[in-house]
Symmetry: C2
Subunit: 173 residues, 2 copies
């Protein structure tokens, strides 16, 4: 199935010169949403994942469905200050400055194989931070699955050591 | 299944005097996540839903899985400025001041039956705003499904005209 055709490209969002790749047109169409989930599900099964770790907030859409399909636990990675219990944290770089994401410290158990889910990889900064948190608590990043790959951004220098599934690639802006 | 037992209650979060009901302990456990989704799925089927509208961001976890189970489209309601195409917006009251949520204007088609999904109902302000947006574009709110019901807060005065499924009730803080 041509998943790329289901993505809506919106020029100059959120600012001039950026082409925003809008996934809402893919997830509103049951056939394309199912097809994307089928591919991610197979990847998770091949990696024998014990848990799904999904990144706020679009990662939750795919992560929730995958956790349900696979019958394995769902763990949210959230922006700072949203998770109520004891957390592990990780700082990551933004275009200007830094930000912090968090995960509950007791969520991933030592030795567990985890798949990290998000909607898109661009710089790879958030995904790298999520992987570092998982490893801090003794988990194993069995793989990363994302819908959209902005392949013209050199995210592989950050995430090169992980096995990554991307379903739709853009080679230029 | 005792879903309430799977919720972790955390005193004084996000501020003193508030008991935070933490759903992460329910969704990390496949049995309780599945059980909650089974009940929501039945509700959506009974209502003959055409679309799932889920509220950012914890609503996405349940909404993604339900959309997948039912084979119907997923529509995100997001905080202001996140959705890239033309949106419909709705203001709602916070404890101090107001906020705005948005939905893509072309997402719900006139006459479609929609189920609104979130993790929790407290004041009902966000859910009411989501319902108003759906109605603005001609959709029909066939029902609302949430995991947690803070029943000691009088949200029914806002949402009384809708059919609402809540899975876990708290009668006091």
């Amino acid at each position: 199935m041509d998943l790329k055709a289901a993505i809506r490209s919106i020029p100059d969002f959120p600012k001039k010169g950026i082409v925003f790749r809008d996934i809402t047109t893919l997830i509103i169409e049951p056939k394309t949403f199912k097809s994307a989930l089928d591919l991610m599900e197979k990847f998770c099964r091949d990696k024998k994942a014990d848990k799904i770790v999904a990144i706020e907030s679009r990662g939750f859409i795919f992560g929730g469905a995958l956790s349900d399909r696979l019958g394995i636990g769902f763990i949210p990675v959230r922006k700072r200050g949203k998770l109520p219990a004891k957390t592990v944290t990780q700082e990551y770089e933004l275009e200007y400055g830094t930000d912090i994401i968090e995960m509950h410290a007791d969520a991933v158990k030592p030795g567990e194989k985890v798949i990290v889910i998000d909607d898109l990889v661009a710089t790879g900064g958030t995904l790298e931070a999520a992987c570092k948190m998982i490893e801090k608590v003794g988990g194993e990043v069995a793989g990363i699955a994302v819908l959209i790959d902005l392949a013209f951004i050199p995210w592989r220098k950050r995430l090169g050591k992980y096995d990554i599934l991307t379903l739709i690639q853009y080679d230029s802006e």
